[in-house]
């Protein structure tokens, strides 16, 4: 399978996402001005500070030419993973419910966090059902927020995919939410960085299971 990793001016985790995706399949960078997704089977919207995050994190990137194609791809059921700034972009694009707000401590925070996989029956977590993952997080706008009635619908549809483990919610996210998917289950965004945790050399390879799960779905669909 082939992952397409978006690259915006200001992306900084695109190369790590490319490296992580290549641990489980082929992967190629997709420049923000191009509309061609080059036959990618799944898209990764990486972390960083797309377009400088001017105005609001992710607000300008969502209007880029490549995002037009990604939005159409997602609407057709294509798998899209958004990490950190990518999660913010997907929320701004309304492919995912809710919004990301400044951390309650108003600080950029970088730390290893423990995540509980709440929904193991998704395209992004089938390889790590019920697991507790150790993955780094680094952001200043990571406080997930959605209205209570939205949250109720999300819980009912199994859209709260990963939560910060007890005591790990450092940014003040509602309901300890670290990552959510859309109702159809083909778009997933999370603030922590699975692409930075794909090799024991850096302390944890727990992030690989997200990419491996995506591969299972794409390869399974081909059989």
């Amino acid at each position: 399978m082939k992952f397409g990793v978006l690259q915006f001016p200001g992306s900084c985790d695109d190369m790590d996402a490319l490296y992580a995706a290549r641990r489980v399949g082929d992967a190629e960078l997709l420049w923000h001005r191009d509309r061609d997704l080059k036959g990618a089977d799944a898209i990764v919207v990486p972390g960083g500070f797309s377009y400088g995050d001017y105005l609001r994190a992710g607000a300008i990137a969502r209007f880029s030419p490549v995002m037009e194609s990604v939005i159409a791809f997602a609407r057709e059921g294509g798998l899209v993973l958004g990490i950190c700034n990518g999660f913010q972009v997907l929320c701004e694009a309304q492919l995912l419910p809710g919004a990301l707000l400044p951390n309650t401590n108003l600080r950029f925070t970088f730390r290893q966090v423990e995540l509980d996989v709440i929904e193991g029956d998704t395209a992004f977590t089938s390889a790590c059902q019920g697991a507790r993952l150790s993955i780094p997080a680094k952001h200043s706008w990571g406080r997930y927020y959605a209205h209570e009635h939205t949250l109720a619908a999300m819980r009912a549809h199994g859209q709260v995919v990963v939560r910060y483990a007890p005591g790990e919610n450092f940014n003040g996210s509602v309901d300890d939410i670290a990552g959510v998917c859309n109702e159809q289950g083909n778009v997933f965004g999370l603030m922590p960085h699975p692409e930075h945790a794909v090799d024991e050399l850096t302390g944890s390879a727990d992030g690989l299971c997200i990419f491996a799960s995506m591969r299972l779905v794409v390869e399974g669909a081909r059989v």
């Binding site: 609001r56 607000a59 300008i60 701004e92 809710g98 919004a99 707000l101 951390n103 309650t104 003040g172």
Partner: protein, 74 residues
């Protein structure tokens, strides 16, 4: 036409910037301050003022978490 768009966090959503400012004021001797909120101001000149609201909905604000107010300068 010159216009200003005032963008604020929606009521009920935690505003840590506002809280930080509110906590700092008494330290400088300003007592009796409450309900502090910090937002953004966008100033712009437009030919057609009716475009400002769609601009706010699409880009200038995130209506999910922010309220906006359009003030036209005469």
């Amino acid at each position: 036409m010159r216009a200003r768009v005032l963008i604020r966090p929606k009521a009920g959503i935690l505003d840590p910037q506002g809280e930080a400012v509110m906590r700092a004021l008494p330290a400088l001797g300003f007592e009796g301050v409450s309900d502090v909120h910090v937002g953004r101001l966008v100033e712009l000149t437009v030919d057609d003022a009716s475009q400002i609201e769609p601009m706010c909905e699409k880009l200038l604000a995130n209506p999910l978490v922010e309220d906006y107010e359009i003030v036209l300068d005469r």
